[in-house]
Symmetry: C2
Subunit: 282 residues, 2 copies
């Protein structure tokens, strides 16, 4: 029975622990700097037991699922203590910093830089759910820097979770994900903020949320502790995407101000193309 | 058996027809300027039969479910021809224009200005679905200008659909709905536009959409023919909401640019309050 240690028992770490306990012959241990998280994770059956950092040398697999600003240093420390056969992978949503941080580590070959594209707006070990990763994409960066046996082990884990694997350069990953994921979070947070500031009537917000607001603002329920480091670590790409987004909003506002019916229709009809791209997604 | 005529066989008109056919002792007729829509609506069982505008005098209930720029003139014409006992109601998402348009009509008392807060991103008679209105809010404006027997008839219809009824002044309605619904649509359309412009790799969009993009961009699949008139008719309120939204996006961008970790956390933590408001909603 292989020993898995999950460092960081939040939504992603917790869901990985829960699913791997169910799908494989693993004993799953947890580490979290918050003792309440560890207690809760054991109570909920998310992990089998707690383990200390000094015992990581006995682990077969270490999963790093902490906020992205903590990942680089923590991964270095984990690689310092694990065995030569241990697979270490992170699940952070920004990839260039971590790839640079471990580039020259003597155990670089033990590491897989991964980003499972799955989640919900909830956080903490209570947010851990089964089947979160099924049919989702897992992006692996710089797979050529991982030992092939370690990579094979990682792929067998991701296959157990029913994930589709894509290889990507970390710089490309961070650029793509800024537009497709991080920008969605900023737009949703600011939509929530705008409505909360102006709309003092909470009952009206509740009553009217069925008109599209509830789904568009969903991501504004996400954790500030998770997302602050992501926005800062992928800063340049997010700033670029925000500049484009603000420019488009201003142009659309101008079309409305000028009663430009044809311009508005054209803009929306063109954007409807997103339907064909997302076809097949729920 | 009462005769209902639905004018405009799109998502909302079609869904009302479908549900009322099922839930009441009604014969449901349809009118649409697009003959394909009428044909499709009959084929799909959304309506029982077509009817001509000149036969509206025989209707017990007329539902006006056309784009908001058409509603004011069409409602006047419908009120001109219906009987003194006929209930006429519209379902438009902007209410001040229509309330002003019928203010002095001799059959103002036959009219109910309604806005059922329900929908999907799809359109046309094929988009008609059962149970769309259950547990949703229906806003009625200027109910005091409707004859009490006609209002009672309208309420009995909305109760059959399991809707909760709220009374609201049309000016207040348009201001609230601009923030809670219309702004969500603009933010989603512009998010889709930004991603489509920058992200030339459609496979990357598809693969990464599970990270929150799919839900945030959902409304960008909505119909330009429905939304162009809404944005123009509720112009002033939408411009105000867009100005606030753009201001908030710029401030958030500044926080990222200045590495203001505390500012980012505070902004997101405050916005998380939206959770408590939407609690109970899916």
């Amino acid at each position: 029975m292989e020993k898995i240690v999950v460092v960081g028992l939040g939504l992603i770490g917790g869901s990985l622990a829960l699913d791997l306990k169910k799908r494989g012959d693993f004993k799953v241990y947890g580490i979290d700097q918050n003792p309440t998280h560890v207690k809760k994770a054991i109570e909920l059956g998310v992990i089998d037991a707690e383990i200390s950092f000094s015992e990581l040398s006995e682990a077969d697999i270490v999963i790093i699922a902490v906020p992205v600003n903590i990942i680089p240093k923590l991964t270095q420390k984990v690689l310092d203590v694990v065995s030569n056969e241990t697979l270490v992978f992170d699940v952070g949503s920004v990839k260039n910093e971590i790839c640079k941080a471990v580039e020259n580590h003597s155990k670089r070959k033990n590491f897989v830089a991964a980003h499972p594209l799955a989640g919900t707006e909830f956080s903490g070990p209570e947010a851990a759910i089964l089947n979160l990763f099924d049919d989702k994409v897992n992006i692996i960066c710089e797979a050529d820097k991982t030992d092939w046996r370690i990579l094979d082990k990682a792929i067998s884990i991701f296959k157990k979770l029913n994930m589709r694997i894509k290889m990507m350069n970390p710089i490309e990953h961070d650029r793509h994900i800024a537009y497709v994921s991080h920008l969605s979070h900023v737009s949703s947070f600011m939509l929530g903020k705008t409505v909360l500031e102006i709309e003092k009537n909470e009952e009206a917000i509740f009553d009217m949320a069925s008109t599209g607001f509830a789904s568009t603002v969903r991501l504004a329920k996400s954790s500030a502790n998770t997302w602050t480091p992501i926005f800062l670590e992928n800063k340049d790409n997010i700033i670029n995407s925000l500049n484009e987004y603000i420019k488009n909003l201003k142009e659309f506002k101008d079309l409305i101000e000028n009663n430009n019916e044809e311009g508005l229709k054209e803009s929306m009809n063109n954007t409807n193309y997103i339907k064909s791209i997302l076809n097949g997604l729920k």
